[in-house]
Amino acid sequence: MADGLVAHVDSHEHGEAHHPDLQHHFETLGQQHEAATLGMWVFLVTEVMFFGGLLMAYLLYRVWYPEAWAEGSLELDIVLGGFNTVVLIGSSLTMALAVRAAQTGLPKATVRWLLLTMALGLTFLVVKFFEYKHKWDLNHIPGENFTFEGPHAPQVEIFISLYFALTGLHALHMVIGFGILSVITWMAHRKRFTPEWSTPVELSGLYWHFVDIVWIFLFPLLYLVDRVHQLN
């Protein structure tokens, strides 16, 4: 081109030793790491908006039907919910420690912390399962067979629908997270992570913390609604 606006230089030397984890279209590991991290954050934004639609419905009906909300919330077991909150925040801690271990090049510790995280996640899911089962036994599943005694039964059905939608979606994220962590743990076990390259651990950490944050909101929104006004 005669315009001189664009000059060319040789791309990085192909003779250089490549890190085995560097994909061909990136120039450096740094660039790859930054792209992946940014991608994860952007993905989390989409997750926020995803839950946002449901939370919008929650907000509206809570404003409209405060009594029904309190009534519905009394059906939930605050002890189990609280226990699960502790479990999940605990798993966030172990996850953060796993990331730290990977970043500082301690594969054994990484595996240990990851296993602990998965164990806590599993505990959460088991508790959740029993909560659901309880609802099932009481015919508190929205739909044809929904039965509920109380003056606000239809609106309580909306509450329970949102309860299932929100916690169900959250549980689904936990299951997916569990799957991701299994792979990561295996990779950590195979010593695939070094202080130089531990991006996958960091990204799954971000995801796991996000799932934790969702629960941090769900717990008060669903379990702690105006209890005191109902109990008097």
Partner: protein, 336 residues
């Protein structure tokens, strides 16, 4: 010119000229901008045409004053449109006080209109010219939308809610009535006409058809459903007296106050436990499933009519605007 092609809808309400003037104004403004841009594009395309593709343009990179100008001017123009259109809008949504009331329900796929005096009609609506008419309506199933193009008004009918629209017809004649919100198979068949009549003809039409007045039918229902058993006129029953209640405020068991209006009465009938009146227990059963939307409307109309009768008259004897004597259970407006 092609004969018989209408290019402009008939103006048959007081709102129509308002809406049309706004329309002409926006058309003029936007036509100005459209012409400006189109003319410039055409002129530039021809004047600066280069058949060879060899030449290059002049190095012009932009101009801040121009950018500011063509941001601010359209904005100001848009604000004029905004203010004007909003004023017209509030005329459209705010019904005048002394409007003739008509009730309506939409369901797949017809419109039922219920006049206060008893006539009811399907897919046809008779109204007098020169008098504000307010239609309060709801839907029994899906969304519908009541649309009178000649009057330039429309509003969605929403299950579980009351919507309303109003107009004052200015010309006698017959005009379209459409369902404008998609509602399933026969959406395009959910159409009819509105017949605007001279007031005298309208009166004649009204008396032509028999039928109980809405309030009288409400009264009948009030007995049939057993409301009278609890709601005695003197307040001695298990439920509060409803005489003179409409339009006042009620204190609820929670201490909040609510206005007793159509919506509140509707709620009281369908979900009585939701808002308990102070001083009464949750005794009243729900009538959900036992009474149609129209039934609810006539009950409301009946309770409304109780407000005009002062004193502790027993509700059963409340005098509704006397219906024509030919009171049979079968309403049949001339429209049917």
């Amino acid at each position: 010119m092609l004969p018989g092609i209408p290019l402009f809808p008939e103006q048959a309400s007081t709102l129509a000229p308002e809406v049309d003037n706004l329309y002409f104004f926006i058309t003029a403004v936007t036509a100005f901008f459209a012409l400006l841009v189109v003319v410039l594009v055409v002129v530039f395309a021809i004047k600066y045409r280069d058949k060879t593709g060899e030449k290059v343009g002049h190095p012009i990179h932009g101009s801040l004053p121009l950018e500011i100008g063509w941001s601010i001017i359209p904005f100001l123009v848009a604000m004029v449109i905004f203010v004007w259109a909003t004023v017209v809008f509030f005329h459209i949504v705010r019904a005048p006080d002394q409007a003739l009331e008509v009730y309506s329900t939409g369901k797949q796929w017809m419109w039922r209109f219920q006049h206060i005096d008893g006539q009811s009609e399907i897919n046809e609506l008779h109204v007098p010219v020169g008098r504000p008419v307010k239609i309060t309506f709801t839907s029994e199933d899906v969304l519908h939308s009541l649309y009178f193009p000649a009057f330039r008004v429309k509003a969605d009918a929403i299950p579980g809610r009351y919507s309303s629209l109003w107009f004052t017809a200015t010309k006698t004649g017959e005009y379209h009535l459409f369902c404008a919100e998609y509602c399933g198979t026969a959406h395009s068949g959910m159409v009819g006409k509105v017949v605007v009549m001279e007031p005298d003809d309208y009166q004649a039409w009204l008396s032509g058809g028999g039928g109980l007045s809405l309030a009288a039918r409400g009264e009948q229902l009030f007995q049939q459903l057993g409301c009278v058993g609890c709601h005695l006129g003197d307040g001695s029953g298990r439920g509060p007296s409803l005489a003179g209640k409409y339009g006042t405020e009620e204190t609820l068991a929670t201490g909040a106050t609510v206005a007793i209006d159509d919506i509140y009465i509707r709620e009281s009938i369908l979900t009585p436990q939701m808002k308990l009146t102070a001083g009464y227990g949750p005794l009243m059963p729900t009538f959900q499933g036992l009474v149609t939307e129209e039934g609810v409307m006539s009950l409301i109309e009946y309770i409304k009519s109780l407000s005009s009768t002062a004193g502790p008259a027993a509700p059963t004897q409340a005098s509704a605007p006397a219906p024509p004597p030919a009171a049979s259970d079968n309403t049949g407006g001339p429209g049917e």
